[in-house]
Every structure is written in structure tokens, then in C-alpha cells.
Amino acid sequence: MNAAVKLVPVQAAYDDLLQRSLSKISCDLARLIYLASTRDYNSGNYHHDGLAVRFRPDVAGKALEIAHRQVFYQLSAYSLEELVEQLRIYLDNSHESAADVLRIWQKLEPYRVAIPVEVNPAVARLFLSNVRLALAIWRFRQEQAPKNP
């Protein structure tokens, strides 16, 4: 009973997050990066000012955590082709040049910190491997483009 009472505000916060923030983001890859950026590097706690004001900080944190895990599993279930398309949308909507983003992503692998804490390890490996492959495919296409105009 107690758990059910607690679940209602988390669901409400989750719906609010979905409606006000996540639906305005261009693709699942960008949603994942955004949600991961709301997590504190040291504590692993999630924080979102607007959501915390409308609900409570702990409820907002839980809603962000759930959304993060959900988007992560959605992305991990994509085929490689779909993930390459996600990467294209992400790069198209980035304020940086696609070549720069690609270079940094391949070098620093910042997408590693976008993985939620409590996820299935095999799925986490699949995700990392697929992003690495999607980046390589994207770069290959870019290199081929001038040769085949």
C-alpha cells in the first residue's frame, strides 16, 4: 500500500519529464545524453531543477533514473542501421561540426558515461560495441562521400 502511494508522484514526475523535456529532444541518442548529464558524477544521483520544484528532489531523481534506464534499453534494442540513423540525427542537431563530434567520440568515448548504473552487463556491452560500430560506419561513409559525389 505504502509503495503504491509512493509510486504515484514518481509516475507523475516521469510523465511531466516526458512531456516537457524529453519529447522536445530530437532522438533517443540525444535523450540518453541529456538524461545522463542530469546525473552527478560522484554520487550517481539525478537532479533536475524544474522537476524538483514541481515534485520533490528525490521523486524527480527517481523519475530521471527510470527514464534514463528506459531510453538506454530502447537504444540498445535498435539494430545497427537504426543506431547509425540515430547518430545522423544527433549530429545534424549538434551545434558542433559532425567531423569534430565524430573525432572526439571516437577518441574519448564519452558515451561510456551515458550508461545507467543498474543495467544488464551484456546489454551495456552490446550498447558500447554498437555505438563504436556506428561511429566507424559513419566515418567510413564520410570518407567515401567525396570519392562518390
Binding site: 534494442a77 539494430s79 544488464n120 551484456a122 546489454v123 556491452r125 552490446l126 560495441s129 560500430l133
Partner: protein, 183 residues
């Protein structure tokens, strides 16, 4: 017709072979897993079997078809290496999850007063089958590649889910009985 001693001998050899394949597969998968990029899972970690839709994804031939359309030998090589590592990590995780489930079950069974022989035998057989499949999958992934063993992997994934569910149900039944006997 073969005699009983011959059948026993053949059975023992087969059992030893299965145990060897399972142990070898698990050891090699652990070694490969430690070379991969996510920290190695230890035996004590609470790991659940991987959800079935991801097992199908890991072993899906669709991604391979997509990569081969690029006609780039480098990309094809990268894909084979990456997917093989993920598949081996999955085998390792599955075998860890299966062992953890059986360990938990054995501990619970020690304190149980109403063990059912048929149920216990089914669980042990399921466990043996899964460990054998993990060993076989390891060898098959190494030699043939993940996309060629999809059916076997999906079957092993389904079995591991079934074992986890059976253990979960037994736990619930035992807890229910203990609750009733205490009240």
C-alpha cells in the same frame, strides 16, 4: 543392443566430456570477458539472465548484412571482432547467472523439509543442459561466429529464463509455506 557396462562407460565418458566442454567454455569466456571494456562481473554479483530480445539482437544476422553492404573489409573485421566479444560476454554472464540461481536453490533446498524428487531432478537436468549449452556456444561462437548460432543462443536464453522463473516460483512457494506454518 549394448550391455549395461558398455552403456555405463559410454555415459560416463559423455558426462565427463560435457563437463569438460562446459568448464573450458566458461574459463575461456571469462578470459575473453576480462579483455572486454566493461568491468568483469564477479561470481558473487547478482546477475540476472539477459532479456530475450537482447539475446536475439546480439546474435541477429541483420547487423552483419548491414555491415557487409558497405563492402569494407575493415568494417567487416571490426564488426566480427566486436560482436564476438559481446556474444562471449553474454555466454559468460548466462553461465554465471545459472550458477548463481542453482547455488541459491541448493542453499534453500538444504533447509527445506518437503523436497520433491521430480522437481529437483528437472532443475538439475535443466542446469546441466544449460551449462553444456554455454560450453557449446562458446566453442561455436569462436569457430563459426555469433550470427550462425542464433537459434542455439536464443534457446539457451529461453532456458535460463525458465530456470530463473522456476527458482523464483519455488522461493515464493517456500516462503508461503513458512509463513503459514509460522502463523
Amino acid at each position: 543392443m549394448i550391455g549395461i557396462p558398455t552403456a555405463l562407460l559410454l555415459g560416463t565418458i559423455l558426462l565427463l566430456l560435457l563437463l569438460f566442454v562446459a568448464a573450458r567454455g566458461s574459463m575461456d569466456a571469462r578470459e575473453s570477458s576480462s579483455r572486454s571494456d566493461v568491468p568483469l562481473l564477479d561470481d558473487e554479483a547478482v546477475i540476472d539472465p539477459c532479456p530475450p530480445e537482447f539475446v536475439a539482437r546480439i546474435f541477429s544476422p541483420r547487423d552483419w548484412e548491414f555491415v557487409s553492404e558497405t563492402k569494407s573489409p575493415q568494417l567487416e573485421k571490426l564488426f566480427r571482432r566486436e560482436r564476438k566479444l559481446v556474444a562471449l560476454a553474454w555466454v559468460h554472464q548466462t553461465s554465471l547467472a545459472v550458477r548463481r540461481i542453482m547455488r541459491e536453490h541448493t542453499q534453500a533446498a538444504r533447509h527445506s523439509h518437503d523436497l520433491q524428487f521430480a522437481t529437483e531432478s528437472k532443475l538439475v537436468l535443466l542446469y546441466a543442459e544449460l551449462m553444456f549449452l554455454c560450453g557449446m556456444l562458446f566453442l561455436a561462437i569462436q569457430s563459426a561466429g555469433p550470427e550462425r548460432v542464433r537459434g542455439l543462443a536464443v534457446y539457451a536464453g529461453t532456458l535460463s529464463q525458465r530456470l530463473a522463473q522456476a527458482q523464483h516460483d519455488l522461493k515464493a512457494i517456500t516462503a508461503g509455506r513458512e509463513f503459514h506454518s509460522a502463523s
